[in-house]
Subunit: 349 residues, 2 copies
């Protein structure tokens, strides 16, 4: 049965929210868990949960307790005495802290005691330890960070969201193939539509990278459903299932969206908070704003995937709540069971 | 006195909204106008305004009539028998349609009958005809599209927003210099803070382009107030006054923000429209949402600037209302009167 290793020490609310999310997932999805981190701290969290129940925290909006019988769940602890902190120089940290929770969580997959990793700590550390500890899938030039994003219709996958600042057309082509295979086998999308993120729809648009990628995808040698270039303003309309770009562009675009959305919510707060009448109206409108917030919330998708390594690595958001971790475990389980990596490597035989 | 040439035929609501905006600007700012386009159509719009007043349309939210005495305004018409349509191949169109409204509007500046151009039609056509008709400022490698964007504090300028898909570090350096000079002399910013759009704050982050640009700006030879790299999620917090990036990244990021904001407003509509109670709450909350919409609306800034050509070219949004055109004329007038181009070229003597 698929076991998921979780870096219990990574993330802004670790270890509490991570352990809550892990137990919640074990309970809801009947999935075995391997918690990797400081044993005493993890045990303290499990004790709390045994007594008081899981803190099911979603978007900071509501918390309620879920009673569980831990003796019925398959939860294993692997002690790790070190933690790689946010902002540490990644390359150095990976080499020096061989007993860190992220390195040992990846190790669990490499050794076969678990089948996938979920990590909410430093993205760079999760990426580097996965690349180093698991290695690339056969035939894959570089792994990519793949992010599932909402649209007004069904979600799509964007890759690369930041693993590679500089890309070749062949890398983007492989990202398209990996993303396409993933949404087909894990999300069950039929004949997923693949697009290249560009500054215009016409074939000749953009820089050399996207122009050459366009030509490679147009040849259609691996049977992908390539639908052409797609502009940033169109990506949330649900016209495309997989969108490729280099990691610099993807990362900047996503973080800019994050920044502008925060500004918008900040302005909403300011406008509704400016006098007593607007405050009351704001209170009445709040449940609707919450529903919207939930629709666009990253928590539903659990986290980003590192696609292209031998194993499944889910990079959860630093601000992951227990709900986000629970979803990340679900996605990890589904990814392992779909056999997506085997399907990807078949293209390169 | 500064005269502004306006392509009366460009934009989704041309010529009506363009002529309304032009007359409104002439009336409010006492600025002479040169309307370039089909004479009979422009005259018909002016007749309508003489009888019924200006349609002052702002964000589609309210329209009211403003009575004006056209005989007291300095409005000149220059006939142009052709129009470059959206989606026409730009290079070809500029060469073939020498009597088109955009080419003749730029010509008016080149010949000196006007001092700046405002154009809401094809961005490519406005850019190409300006570059071809006015030429580059002495010492400038490539012009950039500069866009003023809102933050929770004061607005900042982002460039390049799409003129150059591929850039060199020297180009980005020059964009920083142009943007910095602009916000200083036109917006009156003191010692504007300059940042490089990147995927992390540390000096070594990102691709070769931004790494080299960082080093050039760090040398500080032109006395710019360089504050380092800035991430997409930070740009709307008001920590930076000028942000540089290549035109591919800038264009994708801005359009992605546009797309995600539209999705958000669409979801708000959906949530508030789902039943009678939510509809009533939505109606009560509407004025507040309008206020927010207005704060982030492009109309307030009139349009993007093409910085680096011998003259001032303002590229207004395709969906420009009369209010957006009025503001574009104001910005054009302020830019001319500030002598910003002279200040820019002084750096390259």
């Amino acid at each position: 049965m698929t076991r998921i290793a979780i870096d219990a020490m990574g993330g802004d609310y670790a270890p509490a929210a991570i352990v809550d999310g892990a137990v919640w997932a074990a309970h809801d999805y009947n999935v075995p868990i391997e918690l990797v981190g400081k044993e005493d701290e993890i045990k303290a969290e499990l004790d709390r949960i045994a007594k008081k129940g899981i803190n099911s925290n979603r978007g900071g909006y509501y918390v309620h307790k879920i009673k569980v019988d831990l003796s019925k769940l398959d939860i294993k602890i692997t002690h790790a005495e070190e933690v790689i902190e946010m902002g540490e120089a990644v390359g150095q940290a990976i080499r020096k802290k061989k007993k860190s929770s992220i390195v040992l969580a990846v190790d669990a997959v490499a050794k076969g005691s678990s089948d996938a990793v979920v990590a909410a700590g430093s993205t760079g550390a999760a990426m580097a330890s996965s690349l180093f500890g698991l290695g690339r899938l056969s035939g894959i030039e570089r792994p990519a960070i793949a992010l599932t994003l909402p649209t007004v219709k069904k979600p799509f996958m964007l890759l690369d969201a930041g693993a590679n600042s500089t890309c070749t057309p062949n890398m983007l082509y492989q990202f398209a193939l990996m993303g396409s295979t993933f949404v087909k086998s894990v999300y069950g999308y039929q004949d997923p539509r693949v697009g290249v993120l560009n500054i215009g729809e016409e074939a000749g648009k953009g820089n050399e990278l996207v122009q050459t990628t366009y030509k490679m995808l147009e040849e259609n040698k691996d049977g992908m459903n390539f639908i052409g270039n797609i502009e940033g303003k169109e990506i949330f309309k649900g016209m495309c299932d997989v969108i490729v770009c280099d990691g610099f562009v993807g990362n900047v675009a996503l973080k800019t969206v994050e920044g502008s959305s925060s500004m918008l919510f900040e302005m909403i707060k300011q406008e509704f908070g400016c006098n007593i009448v607007s405050k009351i109206i704001g209170l009445i409108a709040k449940p609707f704003m919450k529903k919207i917030y939930r629709r666009i919330n990253y928590e539903e998708f659990g986290g980003a995937l590192l696609l292209g390594v031998k194993g499944i690595t889910i990079i959860a958001h630093g601000r992951s709540t227990s709900y986000a971790i629970k979803n990340a475990v679900r996605v990890a389980k589904e990814a392992v069971e779909s056999g997506v990596n085997k399907k990807i490597t078949e293209f390169f035989k």
